[in-house]
């Protein structure tokens, strides 16, 4: 997002784009409480649906997809091969908290493949999970593919995991709806899409 923001600023030299980063659930609550934002981009559609229900946003567009992967510290100390390893009690297993989309989706997938994970901690957001994995204080966790490059972790594919759509929308209370629309347009443009692809996101 930072790259996209920088690009937008290049096109509109007298503007500054301020990014508020957080877990989708946090952002959703902030928007519902009336946070002064113009555009909101979330990591899952359920949170965006809540905003749409509350009529807090305009038309929703899908800008990218993501998928879940297993993440392990470099060197894979826990010798993790697949989702089934998450049930091993001797491993230190981390998941996002169920309120976060990444946590919700991960649990759904594990239930689908019949794995009951022996969870040791539920991270409040993906960043915390990645930090622990990078420090090898956890043996395995489930994150988005796009998160892999944020930390020194290695990804292992999760066959059968769902594609996670990432929505974006302009807020109804945006102070300058035209500018907000312009930003969304940039993100949806081929240029924006290229940037997203670079960062590990799949096409919408």
């Amino acid at each position: 997002m930072r790259e996209l923001a920088a690009a937008f600023e290049d096109e509109h030299p007298d503007l500054r784009v301020r990014l508020d980063v957080g877990a989708s659930s946090t952002l959703r609550e902030q928007v519902l409480a009336g946070a002064p934002a113009e555009v909101v981009a979330l990591a899952d559609e359920a949170d965006m649906d809540r905003l749409a229900e509350a009529d807090a946003v305009g038309p929703v567009h899908r800008i990218a997809t993501n998928e879940l992967v297993l993440a392990v510290p470099t060197g894979n100390p826990g010798d993790v091969r697949g989702a089934a390893d998450m049930a091993r009690p001797e491993l230190l297993v981390g998941l996002c908290a169920p309120e976060a989309p990444c946590g919700r989706l991960a649990r759904a997938h594990l239930a689908e493949v019949g794995v009951t994970p022996s969870v040791d901690t539920e991270a409040t957001d993906v960043g915390a999970l990645l930090a622990r994995l990078a420090a090898a204080e956890l043996d395995v966790g489930i994150v988005y593919r796009s998160d892999l490059r944020r930390a020194a972790v290695v990804g292992i594919d999760l066959p059968g995991s769902p594609a996670v759509p990432h929505p974006i929308a302009v807020l109804r209370d945006a102070r300058d709806p035209d500018l907000a629309e312009a930003f969304v347009a940039l993100v949806r443009s081929p240029r924006g899409q290229a940037v997203l692809a670079e960062h590990g996101f799949g096409p919408p």
Binding site: S25, A97, E99, T121, A123, T124, A135, A136
Partner: protein, 267 residues
Amino acid sequence: MSRPSRARAGSHAPLPLWALAVVGVCFLALPLVALLQRAPWRGLGDHLREPVVTEALRLSLVTATGATVLCLLVGVPLAWVLARSSLPGLPLLRALVTLPMVLPPVVGGAALLYALGRRGLVGGPLHDATGLLLPYSAWGVVVANAFVALPFVVLSVEAGLRTVGTDHEEAAATLGADGWLVLRRVTLPAVVPSVATGAVLAWARALGEFGASVTFAGNLEGRTRTMPLAIYLELQSGRETAIVLSLVLVAVSLLVLVPLRDRWLPG
């Protein structure tokens, strides 16, 4: 012996002083009032019975008490060293003691992880040798809470030791008492109020700790999800339980702190 009556100077204080004091009270009371106003009074009973509430409360009370015990065990001797010994580098030690108060709790928690985690400086060898693991357990919460609460005990007891002075300790020495006896029967009884104050402050601090605890010990219901953490998560989901949890935390704190008020305000 009756307590001496004190002429209340308050009635003669200038008006601006009163006004500012009122602002202070509002500052503290307003958030509390807002909480009370939002509370789901009708479903309160059901909310209170939810496992997330009872588990978090139990865990918070147990870990706060455990952290306080740990702080006293380590902090009182440390305070003694600061107040009574003549080691070189005491100012440095005193600064070190204040460090947890200055560090953002999350930083403290991360540092603890790097020190005592499974791959930590000390935690690593310890884990390899004994299989002991502090993070992801209630003990980890105790350690993280003790880390942030320790300064309260040390500073309070050190101040107390300085105030009581060494006069009686000298008298005890001339009567033949060795170090332990002096400590046991003269020094410690004299600083009981300071120790109590330190313990109460540490307990309150440990009860409210969030950043260091979640960063070090993690987050799992029943094991490491303390009240502050539970409140944070419930808030994220926009659930009413968050407010219930907050009120419970406030109620418990007041229940403990109000009866002990007299210790802080002697006379």
